[in-house]
């Protein structure tokens, strides 16, 4: 250890000054062009527009993410006039021309959200700052959707949410630049409530297992609101960590709680695990309070049903869309997706495909990519032919309103994909609510 290498105070001062000078000059060099744009990532005279597809490629929701990405690539194809056009042929009123968006070819950049807010924001920032994405879409978790939506509001980039079911996304955390086509926990509760009453009666004790984040909380809240409203009691509501893997420690207490219904507010691989373990623990073979023990999964998807296999038979839930629907839009989409990938799309794929088309259509309608104008075109936009019947983007909270499907795990599936049968289509009027009940503010058009 010699002291000869140490800095003298004079040297330290010199470097400090040089550093400060470099720091002052740096921003001038690197951000000079930042103010030349009227809005962030204006494609200007470029021949391409870039969309950012930010989906979970790893983690508990990666199955959904993979399917979302497939749908996005299909949507890009259709927008560019390749393939059979899918729902572009059934979508009304449509301004889409099949030559990209506003004559510019659609290209894309992808990223991995890892179902973590931090990683999702880093990935979205990369798309905005490096790749020049004009719009960000995707995600399969409400936590991620809320985080990325907040980022997009600050950056002035439109965010078309993928699969996110929490009331908060278009409730207390809603943003001017964020839009959600998917339904939410409140709608699930409103649609499931009457069906549960009809099937299981009004004298039940429910036990909730809830994924411990924004979606789970609001899902539980909405389910309790509607079930308690019709006379059910809530025995207990237990929060479980996301991606827990083993739920046995949470399921054992259910047996001794005196509850006769288990509500699994879980999604993705978590739901597959918790449902499978509940069945293995013999919950469904039990009789409690003189009634058959039942399990309810408020948010159901075919991908999850596929993962859970036999165990989903007879279990009630709600879903945004199912490939077995017979309307022209759904059929066109299933055909086109099936031709491309060899199996039917999931509801995550459906909502992501629709979101991409809706954004492109809004740009065509206004004739510009300027976000405030595109937002105004989307607000209050009513459309049909996208698989859910008549749908409206409500201007007050950027939430789509449409019919909700109540489904049941198919007892006798005719194929490996025919896993959910539609029990009831709950009309839009029954699931609608006042935009004010969840609070929150959209924020400004211009940022």
């Amino acid at each position: 250890m010699s002291n000869s290498n140490k800095f003298s105070r004079r040297q330290a001062l010199k470097f400090g000054a040089a550093g400060a000078a470099a720091m002052g000059a740096g921003p001038l060099i690197f951000t000079r062009n930042a103010w030349a744009q009227a809005f962030p990532n204006d494609p200007g005279s470029n021949a391409n527009v870039i969309l950012g597809f930010n989906v979970p490629q790893t983690g508990p929701y990666s199955d959904e993410g993979a399917d979302e990405l497939r749908a996005y690539m299909l949507a890009v194809k259709h927008l560019n006039g390749e393939g059979d056009g899918g729902m572009m042929n059934t979508f009304t009123p449509s301004s889409l021309k099949g030559n990209g968006i506003l004559g510019k070819k659609v290209t894309y950049t992808t990223g991995d959200t890892q179902t973590k807010s931090d990683a999702a924001r880093a990935s979205a920032k990369r798309m905005i700052e490096k790749d020049g994405a004009l719009m960000i879409t995707g995600g399969s978790s409400s936590g991620v959707a809320v985080a990325v939506q907040g980022l997009c509001q600050e950056a002035g980039i439109i965010f078309m949410a993928g699969l996110t079911h929490s009331n908060d996304t278009t409730g207390k955390d809603k943003k001017r630049y964020g839009f959600r086509h998917f339904f939410n926990a409140y709608m699930s509760g409103a649609a499931l409530g009457p069906v549960l009453e009809k099937e299981y009666g009004t004298e039940r004790r429910a036990y909730h297992l809830t994924a411990d984040y924004t979606w789970g909380w609001t899902q539980e809240e909405s389910m309790r609101q509607f079930t308690e409203g019709m006379g059910w009691q809530t025995a207990a509501a237990v929060k479980t960590p996301v991606g827990a893997g083993d739920f046995s420690q949470y399921i054992t207490p259910v047996l001794n709680s005196g509850a006769d219904v288990l509500v699994l507010n879980h999604y993705g691989k978590d739901m597959i695990n918790s449902l499978t373990q509940s069945i293995q623990f013999g919950l469904r073979d039990k009789q409690v309070n003189g009634k058959n023990f039942e399990i309810v999964v408020p948010l159901f998807s075919r991908l999850m049903a596929q993962g859970a296999g036999e165990n989903i038979k007879g279990i009630l839930g709600s879903t945004n869309w199912n490939w077995s629907l017979q309307d022209a839009g759904s059929q066109a989409f299933v055909k086109s997706f099936g031709a491309e990938y060899g199996f039917p799309p999931s509801m995550a794929a459906h909502t992501c495909y629709v979101q991409t088309l809706l954004y492109a259509n809004a740009c065509e309608m206004t004739g510009t990519f300027y976000p405030p104008e595109v937002i105004k075109a989307l607000e209050g936009f009513s459309f049909d032919g996208m698989g859910n019947g008549k749908t409206e983007y409500r201007a007050e909270d950027h939430q789509c309103f449409k019919d909700v499907l109540v489904v049941r795990g198919n007892e006798n599936p005719s194929s490996q994909f025919d896993l959910l049968e539609v029990v009831e289509t709950t009309p839009r009027s029954q699931v609608e609510y006042d935009a004010k009940i969840f609070g929150g503010e959209l924020g400004p058009y211009k940022v």
């Binding site: 470097f15 690197f30 807010s117 990369r126 490096k130 985080a147």
Partner: protein
């Protein structure tokens, strides 16, 4: 004591210049956009701090993510309660991380070796679970703590008129996102590097190295090593707190996943990948891992097809199929392979690679005895 190639002054100068010029020389690698540059600088600070503990004393902590998370939460609360200025946020972050490090360090340092590692891991996991569910009112659980329009912001409210939309973090008016945010982090990184340099060269640093080579012998000479260990632990915890608060400064959001054990593991990887116990290694490791996470994960098959388009079609498809496994969602796999290769062939990390390269180029006939003995030590 170290490579003759650089003395400390030139090392520091080169380092400062390289960091400040990152936006230029990283451009060809596609990594010169503000968010990634900020991450380089921030995780560089995290890794430097970690190296002060792990590199000098050899104590392997698996709980440093807890300090990172506490720094973030403290910073976001400073934004929510007081002001959007970055300075108080950073101070709060460092302070609270330091306090937590003092508590955890005081308890964990009663043991050494694997028991110490397990203790720190346990404490970090406890902090994570607290943040995730128990302390939800403070941390907002899994969703993460975010700014809202209703926050009091007491100091700002006195001076600045409330605008429409969320306020942005700033340093006396300079916004803390984009390139200016990067330069703020970069200057702090350079300061941290300087502090680390001085610690490495100080008697205190020598004491820490002594603990690494033989703690028992140090104890037998009548010296109480615990205060030194605790000081090193707290310093490295404060570095982590600084990094955490900077994460919040550049992007005002704090999530519990920052405290997860994977985040603690990440900083261990960064340090080992770059070179344990070397000054510059941890920063290289941090940069490499963040580069993989952000750039490799964004490669999709389209980009691969473009890249390999010079090959004949069938061959191109095969090559894309194979390489596709290693990019996009498979970036972890590439990183894992790289890690294995480095640990097996370059136990001293990337820095050892550079040293070998330098020796090869300078064609020294006689290997430098002192430097190789130090190298072996740092490769433990």
């Amino acid at each position: 004591m170290k490579q003759k190639l650089f003395n400390d002054t030139t090392l520091f100068l080169t380092f400062a210049a390289a960091i400040l010029l990152m936006p230029i020389w990283l451009a060809p690698l596609g990594a010169s956009y503000p968010d990634l540059l900020q991450k380089f600088a921030i995780y560089g600070i995290f890794a430097i701090g970690y190296n002060i503990l792990f590199g000098l004393t050899g104590y392997l902590s698996f709980g440093h993510a807890a300090f990172l998370g506490v720094g973030s939460y403290a910073a976001v609360w400073s934004f929510k309660l007081f002001t959007m200025n970055a300075i108080p946020a950073v101070l709060f972050g460092v302070f609270f991380a330091g306090v937590l490090a003092l508590i955890i360090g005081y308890l964990s340092l009663r043991r050494s070796g694997i028991y110490f590692s397990i203790l720190t891991l346990a404490f970090a996991q406890m902090s994570y679970n607290l943040a995730y569910s128990v302390l939800t009112p403070i941390t907002n659980g899994e969703t993460g703590l975010q700014l809202t329009l209703q926050d009091p912001r007491m100091i700002d409210a006195m001076f600045i008129e409330v605008g429409e939309g969320l306020p942005i973090t700033n340093l006396f008016g300079i916004k803390m996102s984009g390139y200016s945010g990067f330069y703020f982090c970069a200057v702090l990184l350079i300061i941290c590097f300087y502090i680390s340099l001085r610690i490495f060269r100080s008697p205190f640093g020598l004491m820490l190295r002594g603990i690494k080579s033989n703690q028992n012998r140090m104890n037998y000479t009548g010296l109480n090593t615990r205060p030194y260990m605790l000081a090193a632990f707290v310093i490295s915890g404060m570095f982590a707190g600084l990094a955490g608060s900077l994460l919040a400064v550049t992007d005002p959001l704090a999530g519990a996943e920052r405290m997860q054990w994977t985040a603690s593991g990440e900083v261990v990887l960064m340090t080992i990948l770059g070179g344990v116990g070397t000054l510059i290694g941890p920063i290289l490791g941090a940069g490499l891992i963040k580069y993989f996470e952000n750039i490799f994960s964004s490669f999709n098959n389209n980009i691969l097809h473009d890249f390999f388009s010079f090959l004949p079609d069938t061959l191109e498809n095969i090559v894309v199929q194979v390489t596709g496994l290693f990019v996009g969602g498979g970036w972890h796999l590439t990183l894992g392979l790289l890690f294995v290769i480095v640990v097996v062939y370059l136990p001293g990390g990337i820095v050892e690679g550079f040293q070998r390269l330098a020796r090869l180029l300078s064609r020294k006939k006689q290997p430098d005895k002192t430097s190789s003995s130090l190298k072996n030590q740092s490769a433990e």
